[in-house]
């Protein structure tokens, strides 16, 4: 029995999350199939076929999958599920949406957000906002698993594996797509960025987040925010780093005016290098920072931008 991974893609581009999920499953030593469901996704399929370790790619190219609605994706995955002992997807908002539906339709439990694969039925996952790591073992014969992709490296490349197509669409009478509103940004996505600079409540308002732009431009960084900044209405929720937002692990994470609440730390503490800039020397963020600067961010940010 082999592994099925549901690919994560957007605008005809395969996301690196998929490659990281392939890395996570390589330890199982099983043949790996990637399912690409979407509309006009031949390039996504071609990219997936070149991820090291993938034995074949199945493409479901149909308008029904264009918006990745849970009802459509779940029915498709359930249709294919018989051949696989492990069904994996990235724990993105797409994976989190359809995977539990797949699990329930198959009458299987799901193991969410794993950060390590111990063996074919044992996995590690964070619980309590990352304050504890549980090792869990499933008694199921089919494992439905979502993967915290930031915990795994991108897999290598290989000569393209075989690509086949499948035509299996059930009519969805339950839900329909209305609209999509995307955050426009030239910057890298938070979950894929090598450098992230995030602002917290200390930024005082949304306009002041512009102070981070110049630094982000110079470092090729993504801009994030703490939940406090999102709750205060400074910035939209898709910028939120934390247990209830995005989980990130960049090479460099710069926390500006962020106190370091448990829930924020849960989202960024696996970053390689953490820098904290805060005027409160007792802020908990300093306990996890490699480099701390106790200073007023409004003095420091322009200086930092100028010195990069």
């Amino acid at each position: 029995m082999s592994v099925l991974i549901i690919a994560e893609h957007e605008h005809g581009v395969l996301k690196s999350d998929t490659s990281k999920v392939v890395s996570a499953t390589q330890k199982l030593g099983k043949s790996i199939t990637v399912l690409v469901a979407g509309l006009n996704v031949s390039e996504v399929a071609a990219a997936a076929s070149k991820i090291e370790g993938v034995s074949n790619v199945i493409v479901a190219d149909n308008a029904a999958f264009e918006h990745q609605l849970a009802e459509d994706l779940a029915d498709l995955v359930v249709e294919l599920a018989g051949d696989y002992s492990h069904i994996f997807a990235a724990a993105t908002t797409t994976g989190k949406n359809f995977m539990p539906r797949v699990a329930a339709l198959l009458d299987k439990v799901q193991i969410s957000d794993i950060i390590d694969v111990i063996d074919e039925n044992t996995f590690k996952r964070p619980i309590y906002a990352g304050n504890a790591i549980a090792t869990v073992q499933s008694a199921e014969d089919k494992h439905i698993v979502t993967v915290r992709s930031s915990a795994f490296d991108v897999a290598g490349e290989q000569a393209p594996a075989a690509v086949s197509t499948i035509d299996a669409v059930k009519e969805n009478t339950l839900s329909s797509f209305v609209s999509q509103q995307e955050t426009e940004s030239e910057r890298p996505e938070l979950t894929a960025a090598n450098v992230i600079i995030s602002g917290g409540r200390g930024m005082q308002n949304g306009e002041n987040f512009a102070l981070l732009n110049g630094i982000a431009d110079k470092l090729g960084a993504a801009i994030g925010a703490s939940r406090a900044a999102v709750d205060a209405g400074f910035v939209p929720n898709d910028m939120q780093v934390g247990q209830t937002g995005k989980i990130v692990a960049p090479q460099l994470y710069i926390a500006v005016g962020i106190s370091g609440a448990i829930q924020h730390l849960a989202g960024m503490k696996d970053s390689k290098v953490i820098v904290a800039i805060n005027k409160d020397p007792d802020a908990p963020i300093f306990q996890v920072a490699d480099y701390g600067l106790v200073a007023d961010l409004f003095d420091v940010l322009p200086e930092l931008e100028a010195s990069l």
Partner: protein, 249 residues
Amino acid sequence: MKILVPVKRVIDYNVKARVKADNSDVDLNNVKMALNPFCEIAVEEAIRIKEAGKATEVVVVSIGDKACQEQLRTALALGADKAIQIDTAEKLESLHVAKLLAKVVEQENPELVILGKQAIDSDNNQTGQMLAALTSRAQATFASEVIVEGDKVNVTREVDGGLQTIAVNLPAVVTTDLRLNEPRYATLPNIMKAKRKPLDVISAADLGVDLTPRITTVKVEEPSKREAGEIVADVATLVEKLKNEAKVI
């Protein structure tokens, strides 16, 4: 329209969970417990829909031992009309919970079920989606806006990279994200009133769901700790260290 809101009793949002010395689990002895924050948002949303005249009744349900009646009373004080406790002392998995809730959905027949997107203890983010699957209903997860219009609900969802709006046909299951609303505080008169609202207790065993565990927790550990680094004097030192010591810029 009737709205069902399943809620969970969990460790208080502000309390840091500690791992037991024997690594068997997280220590919840003498820890402050509360209504799961996402569930609180779900209760608030249901009450707002009722206040807008689009629902007639809000029923809250929780699964657990008698202690979870405290959270049900909280939900009643916020404005729910009726509560159900599904009594069990077992530690349940999301699939069990979804199956028990599916039985309640069968009995109560709500047009809309609103749940929190995840509980802050197990962090699974599964129950709503599973319940939708088991009851063959549409699902709209991670909602930041819910608009009921006739036999449809338009839900704006928090997705990676922005917002997605979908229309789901009723009956449906919605799960809440953080920005959906800001829950109200229960007033003292409403807390008193909540004590007299109906709270039914059903034994989980009577619902005919197989609750045999399928997941074993092998161990629970503290996450690896990060060591605090150094405080640098100024921006110039910081940039120098990032370049030459950490080599990340």
